[in-house]
């Protein structure tokens, strides 16, 4: 299909590939021009070249990698703790009716508290140390993963569970081979949703109370009117978010290769 097409086809396909880039690249050029002529003040918006320069200098002096590493570590720790807890709770309430009766209504109540609203309390409890940020991220990611694990386990096809019983699967094998794989699409959806919340929580937590991390870097730069650094921080957040999303998509495609909707996604992508 792809190879051996006519020259016109190649040009048209190249055009189709380049076309989406036309608008952002054009905007970037206009922006650079406006900054260079002084029409756009660096205090409002620094030139793209200034941001690139800021990236280069912070990369060389090691401050950018350090801040990114600190932020990423908080994100991963929070995700592991909150996600692990959410999965365990969702598994418990999904698998055992008494656990659902005991826990679910309380968890649903807690879920409705916006977790960023408890920042003042968190600062009182933990100060501005690492625990505060990790705690906030954990709380943020716990509920989407809890809900989707619970829902995923509950929506496993009863017919398959009955079949597995007829074919002699014990409880452990039933969970390993039928219930968890059946719940996996829903769980991974929860993970993707949780990743969005994870970065959002971290940005807010780091801008309010931190002495390191990308959020701290941007807030600190704001104090000194270093708008290029502020924008750099925003771009780094965007890239990290995109990276996390790409990772989960990749994970989904690998883990859900049996699902026909992922087949086609894979085939059209390659």
């Amino acid at each position: 299909m792809a190879g051996g097409g006519k020259g016109g086809g190649v040009v048209r396909r190249a055009g189709e590939q380049l076309l989406p880039w036309l608008l952002p690249l054009g905007l970037l050029a206009v922006w650079e021009l406006a900054a260079a002529t002084g029409w756009l003040s660096a205090r409002v918006l620094p030139a793209p070249s200034d941001i690139a320069l800021a990236f280069w200098t912070t990369l060389l002096d090691g401050s950018l990698p350090r801040h990114v590493a600190v932020s990423a570590e908080r994100a991963v720790k929070g995700l592991l703790i909150g996600g692990g807890l959410g999965f365990a709770l969702g598994f418990l309430t999904g698998a055992l009716k008494p656990a659902e009766i005991l826990l679910d209504s309380s968890l649903q109540m807690l879920r409705n508290v916006p977790h960023l609203a408890i920042i003042p309390m968190v600062i009182l409890w933990f100060g501005i140390g690492e625990e505060a940020k990790i705690f906030l991220v954990s709380i943020g990611v716990l509920f989407p993963i809890y809900l989707n694990t619970f829902h995923g386990i509950r929506s496993v096809d009863r017919g398959l569970v009955e079949m597995a019983r007829v074919y002699g699967l014990g409880t452990a094998a039933l969970y390993a081979r039928v219930i968890l794989p059946g719940a996996l699409p829903s769980i991974l959806l929860g993970v993707r949703y949780a990743l969005g919340i994870m970065w959002l929580t971290l940005i807010v937590a780091e801008t309010i109370s931190a002495s390191s991390g990308i959020g701290y870097m941007t807030m600190n730069a704001r104090e000194f009117l270093q708008t290029d650094l502020v924008l750099l921080g925003i771009i780094v957040y965007a890239l990290l978010g995109k990276l996390a999303d790409t990772l989960t998509r990749w994970l989904e495609r690998r883990a859900l290769a049996w699902n026909p909707s992922f087949h086609t996604a894979l085939e059209t992508a390659s």
Binding site: D157, G159, L160, E162, M163, A164, R165, V166, Y167, G168, L169, A173, R177, V178, P181, G182, L184, L256, A257, W258, N259, P260, H263
Partner: protein, 269 residues
């Protein structure tokens, strides 16, 4: 994995389902399968009630080991309930269900049920579905069972890419892999198109000749019952309304004999 498949292909086994007639296949040597020990089924005054409604009303029945019985009846006539009692998913409200002379006390590997829908795990490949119970040497046995239903070359496919008939064949292989002595079929071909259904009938007849298991087939299709069974029961309002010994499918001389049998059964449904 591929080496194993190739080794399987070298075995002198017919792999295609589209065989001209069951008698031809039966004549071919198939050494890969030990014959099952057929199991006798007996019902002693079996009663099943759901919320005061009597679905099965004192059924007495003996199915000798190795016999193929078709149970015909309208929907809601208690056919599926009967199946669940025999396989051990449910217990009777009264009376006894005996397999091989012993009361059914739970699920057992030599009694297998083929459901209306294939119920394959979408996240397991065909071979993984057939060998769902795992255990030592499961893959070899699963591959042999897939070969038996003519799907050796689809062993590594996901269920989602198989056709409806192929999926039901994988389900049949899954039932065969533990070498059952009694196979229960709960309208397994109801959702298939007419041609595929005939193909499945031929396949089932061939496999039964090889394995020698007894079978209970639930169906609302009288033609299907006559095409497969040695004996037809009509279940009506929880009781056996007709019990007709019709001999094996190969004992019907011509179309008119089949039509006469179907008409006879339909009178009582």
């Amino acid at each position: 994995m591929t080496a194993l498949l190739q080794a399987l292909r070298r075995l002198p086994l017919p792999r295609s389902v589209a065989v001209p007639s069951p008698s031809v296949t039966a004549a071919l040597p198939r050494a890969s399968f030990e014959r099952a020990r057929p199991l006798e089924l007996r019902l002693d005054g079996v009663v099943k009630e759901f919320a005061g409604r009597r679905v099965l009303d004192g059924l007495d029945l003996t199915v000798p080991a190795g016999q193929f019985v078709a149970v015909v009846g309208r929907s809601g006539g208690g056919k599926s309930t009967l199946m669940r009692l025999i396989v051990g998913l449910d217990r009777p409200s009264g009376g006894r269900v005996l397999v091989d002379g012993r009361p059914v006390s739970g699920l057992r590997p030599d009694v297998r049920l083929l459901f209306q829908d294939p119920r394959l795990l979408p996240w397991q490949r065909a071979v993984g579905n057939v060998g769902i119970a795992r255990g030592p040497g499961w893959r070899e046995r699963a591959l042999a069972a897939l070969d038996d239903v003519g799907l050796a070359d689809r062993a590594e496919e996901w269920p989602s890419v198989l056709s409806g008939g192929q999926r039901q064949r994988v389900a049949l292989a899954r039932a065969l892999v533990s070498n059952p002595g009694l196979l229960l079929l709960d309208e397994p071909f109801g959702a298939l198109d007419a041609l595929t259904r005939q193909e499945m009938h031929r396949l089932l007849r061939r496999i039964r000749e090889e394995h020698g298991f007894g079978a209970v087939l639930i169906t609302h299709d009288v033609a299907e019952a006559v095409a497969l069974a040695d004996r037809v029961l009509v279940l009506r309002e929880g009781k056996i309304a007709l019990d007709l010994d019709i001999g094996g499918p190969d004992q019907r001389p011509d179309e008119s004999a089949v039509a006469a049998l179907e008409a006879r059964i339909l009178r009582d449904v």
